[in-house]
Symmetry: C2
Subunit: 161 residues, 2 copies
DNA sequence: TCGCAAACTATAACATGTTATATAACGGGG
DNA sequence: CCCCGTTATATAACATGTTATAGTTTGCGA
């Protein structure tokens, strides 16, 4: 069965990038499920942003993640329900709501940084190893690579080094 | 403001690909809006699949697009409401529902193939021109390129050649 | 040939992005 | 000093992907 998105080349590049991204996130999610962490893979960028940049107001968090403010507001309230982040207003400006990691969020991030993220990163790096040449060829290689061995199968290989 | 996804490199590649894909689709949507076509950019792959492969049952359509069957079912019913595709059961197997372009869908695709898709393709090709090197570098170049001149600004340049 | 597992599609529930808009707080100019 | 535009966030409505599951047909095998 012909892969139409691939055949269309540049024309539907956006759809194709989204499709590959979803595949990667789904694979990552399976990894996380095995490791018994209670957060969707798509929430990690937000946690990583707070880890790297410290407490931030909603708007700046949105900017640093490259998504819109309503998206951040929703993720924050989700993570807040899970007890991983908290929202305070201590600042002088009552409009701004500072988002920060809770103790529990801090622990999760520290654990992830030590045990989980390196594995994921090495699995993805393994997938992308030796890629070169035009973008579309690299994308095709990633798709083929994921089809041949999903990320979870690349983790052990990656950490064995 | 640091771009966290970019800093994280391979770790959040999935999120980053999705973000770039969404950006491309949004830019494409703006192009389509100018040209007064009544369909979201994300529906074009389905129409293109029917154009390339002819009438297909829902399941094969899903396979050729690399998305799940419920996603196709919903898009088909949306496009069917717009009168662009139709669903028939003529086949021997009563479980299968063949999806095909209507006359109106055929016209839209023909028009798009002649007037719209070449412009989009050349704009994206322009964006990706001269890309080379490691994947992450190419992605960064695409993001920078889109920030500097969104797709709609690249159309005239592209068609002028 | 009857029954039941497999195959195909539809539906429900959810995830997470978007745009548009409402609400509340800030702060400058008359 | 108050009004009003600007800024920050929340909410609503929608788009479109997913997984899980229900409901029909089909067709094989006892």
């Amino acid at each position: 069965m012909e892969d139409v998105l691939r055949s269309l080349g540049f024309l539907c590049l956006g759809s194709r990038l989204k499709r590959i991204g979803e595949q990667l996130q789904a694979d990552t999610q399976r990894l996380l499920d095995c490791l018994d962490v209670p957060v969707q893979s798509s929430q990690y960028p937000l946690l990583a942003a707070l880890d790297r940049l410290g407490p931030l107001p909603v708007g700046e968090l949105a900017q640093s993640l490259g998504i819109t403010q309503p998206g951040v507001t929703r993720s924050v309230s989700l993570l807040s329900d899970l007890g991983l982040v908290e929202v305070t207003q201590s600042d002088g400006d009552q409009r701004r709501r500072m988002v920060s990691l809770t103790k529990s969020g801090r622990s999760l991030v520290d654990l992830a940084k030590r045990d989980v993220w390196p594995r994921i990163e090495s699995a993805v790096a393994d997938l992308c190893r030796d890629l070169s040449g035009p973008l579309l060829a690299q994308l095709a290689a990633i798709e083929d690579g994921l089809a041949a061995a999903p990320l979870d199968r690349r983790v052990e290989k990656g950490t064995a080094q």
